[in-house]
Symmetry: C2
Subunit: 593 residues, 2 copies
């Protein structure tokens, strides 16, 4: 299209039927635009008046004249191609046309015109569900669209702006190319939201910052960036907002980033339309063309069921795997908390030997001793708190191990579940074989009696196998998925509870260790002071007492008086000390005595 | 076969061509034995004399009479079926016959007979590579056999015992059934040996103990049980020898147990035969049957290449993933060691305040103080050692992060590499299309001129595409695999080095913490003693000094004398103390003063 635009050519009949798919050297798809029967030279600003094209894909203005045959003076510009591209994109993305009046676009042409022209801006499809009923607008792609939400979010604004009848509001080709190129330049990061059990595809530029990525995830998951925690390949994956998205390891749908948040969502899982609703019924009589069409429709629903079955199974595998990882991480967090707690306890127990101090020595300073005693009992408390933390962590470990054992069983089940897919595949093989027969038959003028009998039998068989396929899908795949969603929800809550608990314990271990350290620090300072206070006594006070007593009796008496006073003071101190010691012995005995 | 045996029937013409494959309801393969034209009732001990069967699969005794037409008096038992089963199993498992004389089994019948009868016991195949050349025996399945080594190890003894011409040595049906049932009852545990980069399939009974599993792994990997460390889904997986194998989580080839050992193997990776060696050449002239056969052979080699390409890519993915996991685990080990070290350092720094003690107080007991000083400097040393450990751990973390970033690049490459597989697949699709034409043509009596021209062109195209396929396989898949093996080897060594280093650090942290705790304990005991020694002094010695001095001068002098003596002692103590303090001040200054 870009090439046509650069060469000033308008195609005028763009539709899926005019796009051919080639398989390239590497097996990749190459799409080629064909059928230039209606093309003509037309520059950006030029107009033309002749009408061409296929009505479902026609710009409303051209539709008005060509289909409704209303006389009007409008001339058409290059944007008529853009409209057709829009309808083609919609059709390719969803399998159905965007604008459908009751009875189909070819039955109710006036309504068809009304839908395309009255469409509110922003809407990308319009349907009339009942005869003469109201028009229903949709601003998003239908549930049957297989494109990821991430891609849909990128595509819908483009569709809304090119499926726009009003020339003034409609995008030009330049903007269309710019916006579509922008999508093509993005990379996909697969994010599995574990609490919601939904796989997201985030389309983002490799040069964007991770902050932008986190915002994009927020848009799809409703988990604010600061609450987003990621795992990759079983281990925490720290994403630094300032780095570019290139620093994220390449993801795939089976190896995505796993988003784990504390949000207490109920897992909603995959939302999908039951393919059984789209299964057409065979007409009773033999009608080769109609039977072929019906078989094709049923086969389509069957393949959709197979695809869904795989997606559902992958979803279950991701749920189990993600939770397994979270369990393992919590387990090693437990281990780490335990080791830190044990180390802290080890050093606390070696402590400062206060037990010995309090029982043995007489303290000169009651206040300081009291303080030391208090500190000591605080340290004791800390050590008890830490022991309790350590005990709690062990309890969490036990409950995690229990959950882990449950998982083991589920993993065994998943291996069994893949059999359902084999069954569906087997049904499809059989159906495909009959479908190919129908495809051949429909080209022939008629069937012989025998051939007709075989055809009838094939119809019965086909319906029978199709029924079995849908039964397997409903009863094995869907029901198991629903059950596993419920179990997942319960487990997520259990794990989140354990995680919360562990966080709290971790915090109290840290707080406790810090306070214990401070208490130890203070205690050692007090001990210092006690040692210092005691040491100077014999050093400084005895100094004035000279070793030589004078022989003068008056002097002697005077000296004696001095000595006596000193002695009294000393005796008083001693009595005080004795009382202290007595009181100490009467104190509540130390916890570990 | 079991059913036939129970009903006393001998089949006498068992070969792959008489076994039909049905696809069951769930897409599973169901094999049915057919063609009972040669069957007759024959009980275990009965004999028969008539000969039937297809010569490649014939028991040597029957071969001797039926093919070599030698008169002999042997009667044949039910074990002739067992021999045919053996040849059939070998053929199905390897794609070729076990006994091949030069020129093929149908060209050189005397040698064929010699191979089957002269085969040493234990050998399961014999080949004559040159005309009249020696016979070469093999005791294992060839490299082209796609069965895992684990299954081969189970199968080879069975083959050796039923491909046994000597009646006395040959197994009976009962033993055969017992041994094959035993294999069928085993479960498979996938073990990827990370240092060797080889995926192993361990066949084991669910009720066996893990100790037996570890031995089975030892047989395949040569890693002794005590050195086997496992990871599963990114996390260490502790296998308790006494538990049963059922406690191991279910594995798949893409999610195996990862065996990580410290063995310094060079990674050998997958050993395989280059499929290019098995590509037959087209004859120049148009020969519909021969062209079809050649195309079939080439296509077979092509599919083998596709299979190998996938296995090689999976191998690369497992290498990267496994190393990534080991890196992450080492990372969290680093984190854990760091936290423990930090906690230990925190408590050590709060220490016992010895700095303050040594600088301030005068100590009465020099010996104890010296000891305290020593302990204190030891604690200082421990704290330095721990700091150094913490520093080393940080260094390891940096180098691990570097490795991690390298990985990111490789993971991006793997995504590119899967394109090679798409290319091969695309070539195969084209080849398969031509092959189907050849298959149709070969049934026709002849080709028109135009058809022959198209056939010739198809042959050229087919060869061209086949060449491209093998080129992609060689130049993209194999070479990238070899390169990644070399890189893997280097990285394994780096990671092992880091792990060793980390283990050593972990051990010194533990040792250091323990010793530091002991030192702290001792120190606090000494401090206790210091406080106790000092406290009793004023308590016990001043007691005899009464507070009331007598007024009698003689008495007074006498008392004065006593006081003076006491004072002298006190003064002496004081001087001693002062000297001690002086000496202390002259001691080498404390490290952190």
């Amino acid at each position: 299209m870009n090439h046509l635009r650069e060469n000033g050519i308008v195609h005028r009949d763009i539709k899926p039927g005019n796009i051919m798919r080639l398989v390239g050297e590497e097996g990749q798809s190459i799409y080629k635009l064909s059928d230039f029967g209606a093309a003509r030279k037309l520059d950006d600003e030029e107009k033309f008046v002749s009408v061409y094209g296929t009505e479902e894909y026609l710009h409303p203005d051209m539709y008005e004249r060509a289909v409704l045959r209303k006389p009007q003076q409008k001339a058409f510009g290059v944007t008529v191609d853009l409209w057709s591209i829009g309808v083609t994109l919609y059709h390719a993305a969803t399998g159905s046309l965007p604008f459908i009046p009751f009875g189909g676009p070819r039955r109710n042409k006036e309504i068809m015109y009304r839908i395309t022209t009255e469409k509110p801006s922003g809407a990308i499809s319009g349907t009339q569900r009942q005869e003469n009923g109201p028009l229903e607008w949709s601003y998003s792609l239908p549930i049957t669209c297989r494109l990821s939400m991430g891609l849909q979010n990128q595509l819908v604004p483009i569709l809304a702006n090119i499926l726009e009848a009003e020339q003034a509001k409609c995008w030009g080709f330049d903007q269309f190319f710019a916006e579509t190129s922008d999508i093509l330049q993005r990379i996909v990061i697969h994010v599995f939201s574990l609490p919601q059990a939904v796989l997201h595809h985030v389309y983002i530029h490799a040069h964007n910052t991770i902050a932008i990525f986190l915002e994009a995830v927020y848009e799809q998951t409703n988990v604010p960036p600061k609450h987003q925690e990621y795992l990759f390949e079983g281990h925490p994956c720290v994403l630094e907002s300032s780095l570019s998205v290139q620093h994220i390891a390449p993801t795939t749908a089976s190896s995505p980033l796993v988003l784990f948040s504390m949000a207490s969502d109920t897992p909603k899982g995959l939302t999908f339309r039951d393919p059984a609703l789209d299964v057409p019924k065979f007409v009773p009589k033999v009608d080769l063309q109609s039977d072929y069409n019906t078989a094709k429709g049923v086969l389509g629903a069957g393949y959709q069921a197979l695809w869904l079955a795989r997606v559902l199974l992958d979803g279950q595998a991701l749920m189990l795997r993600g939770l397994h990882w979270v369990l393992e991480i919590l387990h090693s967090m437990c281990q780490q908390t335990l080791e830190v707690t044990q180390t802290a306890l080890l050093f606390l127990s070696s402590g400062l030997g206060i037990e010995r101090l309090s029982s043995g020595a007489g303290m000169p300073d009651f206040q300081e001793l009291k303080e030391a005693m208090e500190l000591r009992s605080r340290l004791q408390t800390f050590s008890e708190v830490l022991s309790r933390c350590s005990h709690n962590v062990t309890e969490i470990q036990v409950s995690l191990s229990c959950l882990g054992r449950e998982f083991l069983k589920n993993q065994n089940q998943i291996h069994d579940d893949s059999r359902s897919i084999q069954k569906i595949q087997c049904c499809l093989d059989k159906m495909h074989f009959i479908y190919k027969q129908f495809k051949k038959s429909r080209m022939r003028p008629g069937l012989s009696y025998n051939e007709e009998q075989i055809h009838k039998l094939d119809k019965v068989n086909f319906s029978h196998v199709a029924k079995r396929l849908l039964q397997v899908f409903q009863e094995e795949c869907v029901q198991k998925y629903q059950t596993s969603l419920v179990t997942h929800g319960k487990r997520i809550r259990q794990v989140q509870k354990a995680q919360n608990h562990l966080h709290l314990i971790g915090r109290s271990v840290t707080a406790c260790s810090t306070e214990a350290r401070e208490a130890q620090d203070n205690l050692s300072k007090i001990l210092d002071r006690l040692l210092l206070d005691r040491a100077p006594e014999p050093q400084t006070s005895p100094h004035p007492v000279a070793p030589h007593p004078s022989s003068d009796p008056e002097d002697l008496v005077c000296h004696m008086q001095e000595l006596c006073d000193d002695m009294k003071l000393l005796a008083f101190d001693l009595q005080e000390n004795n009382r202290l010691i007595e009181r100490l012995q009467r104190l509540p005995s130390a916890p570990d005595v």
